[in-house]
C-alpha cells in the first residue's frame, strides 16, 4: 500500500464532504492509503491570493509542503486549485534558489524550513498512472458498473495548464479522463469546447459573478447540445461552479439544466458500491436522483 499525505483543501470538506470521504475509500481499494495532513491550511487559492501578493501565496503553500516533508510523504490532493498552488510552488521552489531562500526567511518565523524533498500529485493522475493504479485496476474494482449512462468530463484549467509546467502531453485534446470514465462502464461523451474554463477560477467568480456564470452557462449549453446524464470533474471548485452555479444561472438568466455534477471520486465511489448516503450526494445543489435512478 502506497502512502500519501492527503491535502484536503477547503471546498471539498466544507461543501462536498462526499468527495472527501470517497477519496479516502476509493483510493484504499486501489492500493493507496491517504494519511491525514495535520495542520494543513488553505492551499492558498491561486487566483485570489496569487493575484494580490505572490509572496504570501508562495509562503503559505510552502508551509503546507513543509508539513508533508515532516511526514516524509508525497502529497496527494483532489482539487485543481490546490494542485496549481501546491504543485507549482513546489516546482518553483525546487528550481529557484533565490525564491527558496526568500520563502525560508519567512518560514523561519514559525521554525520551519522548506527543503524540497517531496513531490505533489493529483489523486486523478495517480489513479491513471499504470505504474501506480492504472485504468485496468479501476475497471477491476467496479462492483456497480455505470452502464447506460453518458458522462462528460471537465478537466479544469489549473490541472492542465500552463502546458510548459505540466506533464500531461496535449492540453488541448486530452482523453485520459475519458478512459477512466469508460473504465466505470459509462459512455464518455465529447462536447464542443471541452477545455473551456468552468468560469470560477482566477478570482473571476469573486470579482464578477455574472461574467463568471456566463462562461459556465456556455459550457452547459454545449453539454446540453450532446445530451449527457452527468458531468464529472476532479476539482471541487469547478464542481461548485457547475453545481451551485446552475442555481445562480436559473436566478440570473432564467434557464435550468438540472445536470448532476459529480467529482470523479464520487463517481468511482458509486461504481465501487458506496451508497448515495455515504457520498452525501443529497448535499449537492442539483439533485443527482435522475442519474442515480439510471445507475442503481
Amino acid at each position: 500500500m502506497r502512502e500519501y499525505a492527503f491535502f484536503l483543501g477547503c471546498i471539498a470538506p466544507n461543501r462536498y464532504p462526499g468527495a472527501e470521504s470517497a477519496s479516502y475509500r476509493t483510493a484504499e481499494k486501489l492500493g493507496i492509503k491517504l494519511l491525514d495532513l495535520e495542520g494543513g491550511s488553505c492551499c492558498p487559492a491561486p487566483g485570489a491570493f496569487g493575484s494580490i501578493d505572490l509572496n504570501i501565496w508562495y509562503a503559505m503553500a510552502a508551509r503546507n509542503l513543509v508539513l508533508a516533508e515532516q511526514m516524509k510523504k508525497d502529497i496527494a490532493l483532489i482539487c485543481n486549485g490546490c494542485y496549481k498552488s501546491i504543485w507549482e510552488v513546489n516546482h518553483k521552489l525546487k528550481h529557484n534558489k533565490e525564491l527558496r531562500d526568500g520563502v525560508n526567511e519567512v518560514l523561519k518565523g514559525i521554525d520551519m524550513e522548506y527543503k524540497g524533498t517531496i513531490d505533489v500529485w493529483h489523486l486523478a493522475e495517480l489513479f491513471y498512472d499504470p505504474q501506480i493504479v492504472g485504468v485496468q485496476k479501476i475497471r477491476d474494482s467496479v462492483k456497480v458498473p455505470l452502464t447506460g449512462t453518458r458522462i462528460a468530463v471537465h478537466y479544469g484549467c489549473h490541472l492542465m495548464k500552463p502546458k510548459k509546467e505540466r506533464h500531461f502531453g496535449t492540453t488541448e485534446h486530452p482523453t485520459w479522463m475519458e478512459e477512466m470514465v469508460a473504465a466505470l462502464g459509462a459512455e464518455p461523451v465529447e462536447y464542443r469546447n471541452k477545455m473551456l474554463c468552468c468560469g470560477a477560477g482566477g478570482g473571476v467568480r469573486g470579482y464578477d459573478l455574472v461574467h463568471s456564470i456566463d462562461i459556465t452557462n456556455e459550457k452547459l449549453i454545449n453539454l446540453k447540445e450532446v445530451g449527457v446524464d452527468a458531468l464529472t470533474e476532479v476539482c471541487p471548485f469547478c464542481q461548485l461552479q457547475f453545481d451551485r452555479g446552475q442555481i445562480e444561472i436559473k436566478e440570473k438568466f432564467g434557464v435550468s439544466y438540472d445536470l448532476p455534477v459529480l467529482h470523479y471520486c464520487e463517481l468511482l465511489g458509486l461504481a465501487q458500491g458506496m451508497t448515495p448516503q455515504e457520498l452525501a450526494l443529497d448535499l449537492h445543489g442539483i439533485s443527482c436522483e435522475p442519474f442515480l435512478q439510471k445507475v442503481l
Binding site: T170, E172, H173, R192, N193, M195
Partner: protein, 703 residues
C-alpha cells in the same frame, strides 16, 4: 566605433610619413628565416579596442606586468592595434628591438589573426612567430563588471602567450592546386541559380538533388509575391537551362554519401539511389539503341499501386512508378521501391525502350571537386504540434503549402479552392500568421519565418480574385512587408477588402456537423476577445531546416545554430562562407529567405565558390604533424587513429617509419597526443610549446 578607429592619435601622426614610405615600398617578404641570436625576444602589444577592452581591463597595469615577464623585450599599448598605425607599431618594434616573436593581446584570433600575422611578416619575421592572447571575447566582454578579475585574467593570458611565442618556430605554408570543378547540393532555386552561375563562369558543376526532380519548394508554389507572376512560369525556363547546360552534370535522386579532403581537393562520394528507370543516355551506354525513358507515361497507366503524391502534399495520387508533375526536369520516371510490388506490368508496357530495370541497385559515384555549395532548403514545421489549432484533426484546417496546391491550376483541384471536408467552395477563409513562428511557448519556433506575411497577403488576394464574395480574414501580430514593393502590395490587399485582425488565435473549434470552424482570438486593437465562424482555416506554418540538413552539414563540417539553420562564417561580412574553407552556403538553409533573397544569396555563393577555382591554388595552414624519424618505432598505431587517412607507414633505411601526407593532415593532434614514443611533432602546437603554456599558467611566469 568605426569613426573612432579612423581618428588618428598624435603619436601616429608623427609616423605617417614613415608609414607612407613603408606603403610605397610594400614589404613583400615571403616567409623569411628568422635569425635566432641567443635568447628569444618577444614583443607584447596590448589593444584597447576603444572601450571594448580598456573599459574593463587596466591596460597600463597589464603593460607594466608584461614588461616583467621572461623573454619580453618590448611592450606597448595602443587604441586600435589592428589599425594601420597600430600595425606599424608592431613592424617597427620588430626591427628596432630585434624581436623573435610577437604577442598581440586583443580580440579573438578568428577576427584579426591574419592581420597581425601580416604585420609580423612585414616586420621581417616569419608570420607564424605570432601568438594572440584573447582578452576581449573571452575576458573583457564576459567580465564587464569585474575590473580587477578581468585585469588579472588578462595578465594570465599574456603570460601564457609569451611562453608560447618564445618557442615558436618558422613555418612555411604549402600551396595546393584547386580542382576546377564545383559541387552544389540541393537543386531548389538556390542550388539551380548557383549552378547556372558557376557553369556560366566556365566551371564544371555537379548538381546533386535528393528528389527525382529539380525545382524545390518554388515549383510547388502557385504565384509569387508581390508581382503575382506564376511561379512555374518563371522557374521552368531555369529548370530547362539547368537540364541543358553543358557545364552542369545533373544528378537527381542522389545524395552525398561521404566527403573527404580539403579546399581545392574534396573527394565526394554520391549515392545515386536506384530509381529503376534508365535515362536515354544510360540506355545507350548499355547498348540499348534508341531505348531509355522518354517520359511517355505508358508505365504510369498500367501500374496498379496507388500512393499519395508528396509534391501535391498528399492530396493527389501517384503510382509506384511516377513523376511528380508534368514539368519535371529531368523528364524521367522513378520507381518507389518501397511500394512497388514488382508485378512487371510497367516493364511490358515500356516494351522496346527497355527503360525499366526492377533489379537496379544504388550506385556510388566518386567526384573530385574544388569547392562546394550547400543549398539544402527548408521544410514546413509540423504544425499539428500546436494542437489548439487542430491541424490533422479538423479537415478544413490546412497549411499554406497545401493552400498553394489547392489554388494552383495544375494542382489536385485544377485551381478550384475547395474545403477538404465536403468539396464546397469556402465563403470565409481565415489565415493564421505566425503559426508556430515567433512562438516562445517551447512548442513552435522563436524566430520569424519571414515570408509568411507576404504569401498570406498573396493568398488573400488570390481568393478575392478567384471566388467572388469570398472574404479572407488575416490574424496577424505584425505585417512584415519588408522588401521592394512589398508595403505597396500590403496596401493593395487592404484596399481589395481583406480583413486584418491583430491578435493571435488561442483556440479553434470545429462544428462536428457542418465542419465549420470557430476561431477564438483576441482583437488587440479593439482590446476585446472575439469569436468568428469560418469555412476554412489556412495556417501560415513556420519553416525549419530540411530533414537532411543535419546529416549533410556534418559531412562537410559546417556548424549550425540552435535552431538547426546552417551558420555562415560571419553573419554580416561573410554571409556565404562557412568555417570549413571551400564550403559555401546558399538559400534558405541559412534561415528563412524569400525568393529574391535566395537568388541573391545563391549568386553570392557561386561567386565566392568560384574564386579559389579561378585563383588556381590555395595556401594551406602549415599546422600538420611531422614524424621525428629517429624516435619512430614504426608501430603504426597512429595510422589507424588518424580520422583523415593522412598517415601511412613506409620503409626507410631498412625499417618502417610513419609518413604524413601533409595536404590531408588537419593538425587535429590525435596522433601527436597518442604516440607512445613522442615521435610526432605537431607543428605550431608542439609539446614543448604547450607544456610551456601550462607551466606559465601554473607557475605564474617564474621559471
Amino acid at each position: 566605433m568605426a569613426e573612432k578607429k579612423t581618428k588618428k592619435e598624435p603619436a601616429a601622426k608623427k609616423e605617417t610619413k614613415k608609414a607612407a614610405a613603408a606603403k610605397a615600398a610594400p614589404a613583400k617578404v615571403s616567409s623569411p628565416e628568422t635569425k635566432m641570436e641567443g635568447k628569444p625576444r618577444v614583443g607584447v602589444f596590448i589593444c584597447h579596442c576603444g572601450t571594448n577592452i580598456a573599459g574593463s581591463i587596466d591596460i597600463q597595469e597589464v603593460e607594466a606586468y608584461a614588461k616583467t615577464l621572461p623573454n619580453v623585450a618590448f611592450a606597448a599599448n595602443y587604441q586600435y592595434v589592428c589599425s594601420t598605425p597600430g600595425q606599424k607599431i608592431i613592424t617597427d618594434a620588430i626591427k628596432e628591438h630585434k624581436l623573435t616573436g610577437t604577442v598581440v593581446a586583443a580580440c579573438s584570433p578568428r577576427l584579426h589573426e591574419p592581420t597581425f600575422r601580416t604585420a609580423t611578416k612585414e616586420g621581417g619575421l616569419n608570420p607564424f612567430r605570432f601568438e594572440m592572447a584573447n582578452i576581449r571575447e573571452q575576458n573583457s566582454w564576459v567580465h564587464m563588471h569585474d575590473r580587477e578579475g578581468a585585469t588579472a585574467k588578462a595578465k594570465d593570458a599574456i603570460r601564457i602567450a609569451v611562453a608560447k611565442a618564445s618557442l615558436l618556430q618558422d613555418l612555411i605554408p604549402k600551396s595546393v592546386p584547386v580542382e576546377k570543378t564545383a559541387l552544389v547540393v540541393g537543386a531548389g532555386i538556390a542550388g539551380m541559380q548557383a549552378s547556372l552561375d558557376l557553369a556560366n563562369a566556365g566551371i564544371k558543376t555537379y548538381l546533386v538533388e535528393k528528389l527525382p526532380s529539380i525545382g524545390g519548394r518554388m515549383s510547388q508554389l502557385d504565384k509569387t509575391f508581390p508581382t503575382l507572376d506564376c511561379s512555374q512560369c518563371i522557374l521552368t525556363p531555369k529548370m530547362v537551362d539547368v537540364g541543358r547546360a553543358p557545364n552542369i552534370e545533373l544528378m537527381t535522386y542522389a545524395e552525398v554519401e561521404s566527403v573527404e579532403g580539403y579546399i581545392g581537393n574534396f573527394d565526394v562520394t554520391i549515392r545515386k539511389k536506384a530509381r529503376g528507370v534508365l535515362s536515354m543516355a544510360e540506355a545507350e551506354a548499355k547498348g540499348i539503341a534508341g531505348g531509355g525513358c522518354n517520359g511517355c507515361g505508358d508505365c504510369d497507366v498500367v501500374c496498379p499501386v496507388i500512393k499519395p503524391n508528396p509534391f501535391e502534399m498528399g492530396m493527389k495520387p501517384r503510382k509506384a512508378i511516377y513523376i511528380y508533375h508534368p514539368q519535371v526536369v529531368p523528364l524521367l520516371y522513378t520507381i518507389d521501391f518501397d511500394s512497388c510490388i514488382k508485378c512487371g506490368l510497367c516493364v511490358d508496357s515500356c516494351g522496346d525502350k527497355k527503360a525499366i530495370d526492377l533489379e537496379q541497385k544504388d550506385e556510388l559515384v566518386k567526384l573530385k571537386v574544388g569547392t562546394a555549395i550547400l543549398a539544402l532548403g527548408y521544410d514546413i514545421f509540423p504544425i499539428d504540434k500546436k494542437d489548439e489549432w487542430g491541424y490533422k484533426k479538423y479537415e478544413n484546417v490546412v497549411t499554406s503549402l497545401e493552400f498553394e496546391r489547392l489554388i494552383c491550376a495544375s494542382g489536385p483541384t485544377g485551381g478550384h479552392l475547395v474545403r477538404p471536408s465536403d468539396g464546397q467552395t469556402p465563403k470565409k477563409v481565415a489565415f493564421l500568421l505566425c503559426a508556430g513562428s515567433r512562438d516562445n511557448t517551447g512548442v513552435g519556433k522563436p524566430y520569424c519565418s519571414r515570408f509568411c506575411c507576404m504569401y498570406s497577403l498573396k493568398h488573400a488576394h488570390q481568393i478575392i480574385e478567384k471566388i467572388p464574395g469570398c472574404q479572407p480574414y488575416l490574424f496577424y501580430m505584425d505585417i512584415r512587408s519588408f522588401g521592394k514593393m512589398y508595403e505597396e502590395f500590403y496596401y493593395r490587399i487592404q484596399d481589395e477588402g481583406a480583413k486584418f485582425i491583430r491578435g493571435r488565435v488561442s483556440n479553434i473549434l470545429e462544428d462536428p456537423e457542418t465542419k465549420n470552424l470557430f476561431i477564438m482570438a483576441d482583437d488587440t486593437l479593439l482590446d476585446r476577445p472575439m469569436k468568428l465562424e469560418v469555412d476554412m482555416v489556412v495556417l501560415a506554418a513556420a519553416v525549419q531546416p530540411s530533414a537532411d540538413t543535419d546529416r549533410t552539414r556534418k559531412l562537410f563540417g559546417v556548424s549550425c545554430s540552435l535552431d538547426g539553420w546552417l551558420l555562415e562564417a560571419h553573419p554580416k561580412l561573410n554571409p556565404c562562407g562557412t568555417t570549413t574553407a571551400g564550403v559555401f552556403l546558399a538559400g534558405a538553409c541559412q534561415g528563412p529567405k524569400d525568393i529574391p533573397d535566395v537568388v541573391a544569396s545563391a549568386e553570392g555563393a557561386a561567386s565566392a565558390a568560384s574564386i579559389p577555382i579561378h585563383m588556381g591554388e590555395v595556401e594551406l595552414e602549415p599546422y600538420f604533424a611531422q614524424c621525428v624519424e629517429e624516435k619512430c618505432a614504426g608501430c603504426g598505431m597512429c595510422v589507424n587513429l588518424c580520422p583523415y587517412q593522412a598517415l601511412s607507414l613506409v620503409e626507410k633505411e631498412g625499417r618502417k617509419v610513419m609518413q604524413v601526407t601533409e595536404a590531408k593532415c588537419k593538425g587535429c593532434g590525435t596522433c601527436g597526443g597518442f604516440c607512445p614514443g613522442g615521435a610526432i611533432w605537431m607543428q605550431h602546437f608542439a609539446t614543448p610549446q604547450i607544456v610551456a603554456q601550462i607551466d606559465a599558467f601554473f607557475l605564474g611566469g617564474e621559471h
